[in-house]
Structure formats: C-alpha cells, structure tokens
C-alpha cells in the first residue's frame, strides 16, 4: 500500500516537473500570497511551519492527501491518501473550490473559493512558498506545536469542569452534523485547542467564537478538551 502510494506520488511529481500543467503555470504567486491570508488563520507555510488547526502546508503539491506526519486528519482525507490520491493541481483546485463538496467529511471549515483564477494564484503561491513534495524549500517542524497550544496540552484537564463549560457550547454545536456550526466532538485535542487559541488571540476571526473564547483561560480550554475527548 505504502509503495503504491509512493509510486503514484512519484509519478505525479514527475508529471509536474516534466510539464507543469498549464493551469498551474497561470497562477500568480504574489496574488496568491494575499489570497492566503484567510488560510493563515489555520495553516502555516514556509520556514518553521508547524501544524495548527490545519496541517502545515510545506511540500504540499504532489504529496499524498491527508498523509503529512504528526497531524490527525479526518477519515475522508486519510482514506483518499491511502487510496493513492495526491494533491495535484486538479485535486487542489477541486478542494479549494468547495472542500466539503470534494470531501463531505472534511474538518476544514471553509466555504471555498469561487473564482478559478484565485484558486490558481493560491496554488502557485503554495508551490512557491512551501515547495512541491520531496523538494525542500522550507523546513517544517512536524513534531512541534504552537507554544500557546503546547502549554495547554500540558495541563491535565478537569473533566467535570469541562462538562459544565461544554453546556455553553451545546447551545450551538451538536454532537453530530452541522455545516456552518461544525461538530466539535471527535476533534483531536491538539486541533480543538489550536482552534480555540486561534479564536482567542484573534488570528482566526469569527464574532461568536472570538467572544466565546476570550473568556476561556488555559485551564478552561484544557478542561473542555479533556471533556470533549472523554465524551466520545
């Protein structure tokens, strides 16, 4: 299985190297950098990139879907990668157009980018800033997590307190389903914590979640993470 994946990845790479797909060639990385700003609420790319709410995106183009080390992907992405699918230009284009149309079970809460041109700019930017698979243009640190997140991961969460605090969340977040208010059960603790930290420090913007998270201290986020993990 692993071999097959590597082989297909290599094929895709070879194709990219030999004849970059015309659509990829069209993208303008400078415009893509501007368009990447909303993505940066969840993703890092470039030197020193670490996983946050979403995985770091170095070496993305040409790599297997949902396979980068140290990040817990949704089943949909993991299965796609295991089946041999890679992030070639077409797959990225489809995903960015409507993440959930492509992978209904994805945890990436993002509506999609309508303009095909903008998607091409973004893909060009990600290729430039993070390199293609196998070619290291920027070092990622797949083991490291954001220090703010790491500090909370180190706290032993108080589960009964977390259960009480979660009562606030269940007014909006259901145990299953929900599109614009996604379910928050079953998120990996690192992803759950990274999400709340990003809302709390404002790097991810959303009026409701910024307000909800601003009054959560580290202890409270740890308690919530421990409860949501235990309640599965």
């Amino acid at each position: 299985m692993r071999d097959a994946r590597a082989a297909i990845g290599a094929l895709a790479l070879a194709a990219l190297a030999a004849a970059p797909s015309p659509s990829l060639a069209e993208g303008d990385a400078a415009q893509g950098e501007r368009l990447f700003r909303p993505c940066a609420a969840c993703h890092m790319i470039g030197e020193g990139a670490v996983h946050r709410v979403g995985p770091q995106l170095n070496g993305l183009v040409g790599r297997a879907i949902g396979a980068v080390a140290g990040y817990e992907f949704s089943d949909d992405l993991v299965e796609a990668g295991v089946d041999g699918l890679v992030w070639d230009a077409d797959a990225l284009d489809r995903f960015l157009a409507g993440p959930r149309d492509y992978f209904p079970g994805t945890r990436m809460v993002f509506r999609g980018i309508r303009s095909e041109e903008d998607r091409q700019h973004l893909i060009a930017y990600m290729r430039d800033a993070g390199g293609v698979a196998g070619e290291v243009v920027a070092e990622a640190d797949t083991e490291a997590v954001d220090p703010e997140v790491a500090a909370i991961l180190g706290i032993a969460g108080d589960v009964p307190y977390g259960e009480y605090l979660a009562n606030e969340c269940t007014a909006c977040h259901r145990a299953e389903g929900g599109g614009d208010i996604p379910t928050i059960r079953g998120l990996a603790p690192s992803v759950f914590i990274a999400g709340l930290v990003a809302y709390r420090n404002g790097s991810r913007e959303h009026q409701v979640m910024n307000t909800v998270s601003r009054r959560l201290g580290d202890e409270e986020i740890a308690a919530l993470a421990a409860y949501f993990q235990s309640s599965e």
Binding site: E168, G177, D180
Partner: protein, 421 residues
C-alpha cells in the same frame, strides 16, 4: 445562599412527616425537583437536572401543552423560510429517555410553606426545589381596546403555534395594496429584535405577493435592538414600504378597535387590514400566584437563578428579573444550565461551578441576509452583567450575511436538540 445537603434533606423529611404517607417514602429516598413550563428554560432545566442528577433526583415537568411551538423561527415561517411543523417539539424523549415525569396540566398555584404545586386538573405535586420558567403574560389594558378576547382578530403571535398560523393566514388574505399594522411593545419584552425581524419577514412576504401593500409600526420606544441594521436592510430590500411611528409622533399613544379594524395613533384613526398587537409583558401568572414577583417580574440571584423571595424556587427565562440578559430562548437555555448545576449540587454531592452565561440572537432581514448580536455574561451580587459583546456590522458582504443566516439554522437544530433530545 446554599443549604448543606444533609441539613436540607433532614428538614425535608421533617416537613414531610406532617404530610401524607406516600410523600414521606419518596421524599426520604430521592430529592424532588418540579419544573413548571416546558419551554426554552424549563425543558432545558428538566433535561439537565435529570441527566446530571441521575438516580438521586426525581424530576417532574408540568407543561400545559403536549407540543411546544418555538417562537424562534416563527417569524421565518411568516416570511416563508421555515415550516410551522418544524417549530413543533414534543416531550417524548424527556419522558422516555431521561425518566422525567411529564404532566400535561396547568400549574394553578404554589404553596410555598407546604412546598407543593397545585394543578388545575386537581391534585398537587410536592417539591424540594421548584423551577419556574413560564414565559410571559400580557399586561391587561396596556393597549386600549385590545384584550386576549380579541386575539383572533388582532393576533399577538407572541406565543408560539396557532397565533403565528393565524397571522400568516391574515397576511395571505390581505387585499392588494392593503395595510399591515403592528403595535410594538414597550421595554422590557421577550426577544428585543423579534418585532423588527417580524416586520422584515412580513415585508418579504408582501414584496413577493402584494408589492403595493404598506407596513405601519406604532412604537412606544425611542430605539430598539439592531435598529441601524434593520433600517439599512429595509432600505435595501423594501424601500418605501415600511413606516415606523415612534413616541415623538404618537407611537406611544395608540388605541385599537378590533370590531372596526382600526388603529388610532395620537387620535388619528386609520383603517388597517391586519393588526398585529404585541402588548406590554410581565412574568407568567404562576410567578404571581407563587408570590415571588416584585413589579412585573420575579427578581432572582445571578449566581443560581434562585428567587430573592424564596431560595427553594428558581425562576428562569422571560419571567426572571436577572439583570442584563435579554429575554430570549438562548438566554433561558443558558440560565437553565447554571440553575441545573446549582440545583444538582445542592441536592447531591456533585460540584457547583461558577455561573457563566451567554446569548446570541440572530435575525433574518431578507433572503440570506442574516444579522446577529450577542454577549457573554457573568454573575454579580446586583445581577447578571455583560462581560463582552458583539454585533453584526453595516456593510458586511453578502457572503458574511449568508453565513450568519446559515449559522442560525444550525443553532436552531442545536438548541432544540439541547432542550428535547
């Protein structure tokens, strides 16, 4: 004030000794919590107390109706964005899954010394802790000429279900170019943006079905919730259709005649085709019967929603005078969870955590044009106070407004699940 559990059960047993035999048996084994009103506050409180109290607490829910029709989204139903049937919820799972004893009857009175609730259908139910979440009632004569006796001609549609259906039917039957009038309520009332979301939805309906019709609002208030957002939206979606007459122009001096279908504003009489009268409001009758009100509402402690008059009674939602939270379904649900934690902690050895509240109210102005306002709150000795607030902005993109609207649909699913599932 919190009562130590042993002392508490001790006094209950002692009090029960003077009462009927079957009650002694029950009171000694399981603490009894009675909840009156199975709406946003009451259904949530019953469900959480039953869930967290386990075998130690016996929960009884007294609710007059077999089905609860949410007021939230009844405006969207008027606008054609939501089905009325989808606003109905039943109590099957609260009874079946949570073991709550659901009694469909009207709670007629409370004997605070004996700690019993009497039922209109006869008999009474004993409690150790009583939770009241009866919503609102209308203040008689607050709109001269209007009373509940004429609510079929001039609907309030401010309690869920049949009244909303009636208002919708009247809207459909309006003559071409006719006038829809609303008498808006004075503060404080349930759902501050509610009347104005309703105007938006009525305007949406009329724009599609009766575009020359007019909307007239007589309003006793200077300003209201999300006013700039509504006015901006009305200008964009329904230019020239809506006229609001504030207190400076007689909006606070109205009278209606349901027989003649007239609305008089500062003595100027106007014949209208639909007249939606939303009267001034006060706590549900049972709060008055229990003798725990001060003025129109029941004052409560912010820490556990216990009545300032009787600490064995908690009051949630619209009926409570709690401080800064708006009277909304979201608020009632939030208060219910704080109350449930306090009640379970008082009756078992579970931990009590500090009170914390939140609220978000979404409103729909036009197709995919949603706005929201919300806050987080904390408890102080004086009452509940806001700690952090937000509100939608003018000039947001259509994409942001559409997202806000879709969020409200997810919220509706989540909150009704949180109450009934």
């Amino acid at each position: 004030m919190t009562i130590n559990r042993r002392v508490f059960l001790g006094t209950t047993a002692a009090a029960a000794a003077t009462l009927s035999a079957p009650m002694i048996a029950r009171a000694q084994t399981r603490a009894r919590v009675v909840v009156v009103g199975g709406g946003s506050g009451g259904a949530t409180a019953a469900r959480y107390i039953a869930r967290d109290g386990g075998d130690a607490i016996d929960v009884t829910l007294i609710e007059a109706s077999r089905q609860y029709y949410t007021c939230y989204f009844s405006n969207l139903y008027l606008g054609g964005f939501f089905d009325l049937e989808d606003t109905a919820h039943s109590y099957g799972r609260l009874a079946g899954h949570y073991g709550i004893n659901v009694i469909h009857d009207w709670a007629a009175g409370v004997d605070r010394d004996a700690r019993t609730v009497s039922l209109a259908g006869g008999g009474s139910v004993p409690y150790d802790r009583l939770v009241l979440s009866p919503g609102i009632d209308f203040i008689p004569d607050s709109v001269p000429g209007w009373s509940v006796n004429v609510q079929d001609r001039m609907p309030h549609a401010y309690k869920g279900g049949t009244q909303a259906a009636l208002l919708r039917a009247q809207l459909e039957a309006m003559p071409e170019g006719g006038t829809f009038a609303m008498v808006a309520p004075p503060n404080p009332y349930r759902c501050p943006p509610g009347p104005y979301e309703r105007i938006s939805m009525v305007a949406h309906f009329l724009k599609e079905n009766n575009p020359t019709a007019k909307i007239l609002i007589a309003d006793p208030k200077e300003g209201y919730s999300k006013q700039v957002l509504f006015e901006d939206g009305w200008e964009r979606h329904y230019p020239g259709m809506i006229e609001r007459i504030g207190p400076g122009f007689g909006g606070d001096n109205v009278e209606v005649d349901a027989e003649a279908m007239t609305l008089s504003i500062d003595g100027v009489v106007e014949t209208v085709d639909v007249c939606n009268v939303i009267p001034a409001q006060r706590a549900g009758t049972i709060a008055f019967a229990a003798g725990i009100t001060d003025g129109n509402w029941a004052p409560v402690s912010a820490y556990d929603l216990s009545s300032r008059v009787d600490p064995n009674i908690h009051v949630l939602g619209d009926s409570a005078a709690q401080g800064a939270m708006p009277k909304s379904g979201f608020s009632a649900n939030s208060q219910a969870k704080v109350c449930a934690n306090a009640v379970v902690a008082a009756l078992t050895d579970a931990r009590q955590f500090p009170a914390r509240f939140s609220n978000t109210c979404w409103s729909l102005i036009g197709t995919e044009d949603g706005v929201k306002v919300g806050a987080t709150y904390e408890a102080t000795d004086e009452g509940i106070v806001a700690s952090d607030t937000f509100v939608s902005q003018l000039g947001e993109t259509a994409e942001v407004r559409a997202e806000t609207y879709r969020e409200s649909l997810d919220w509706y699913e989540a909150i009704t699940t949180d109450m009934f599932v």
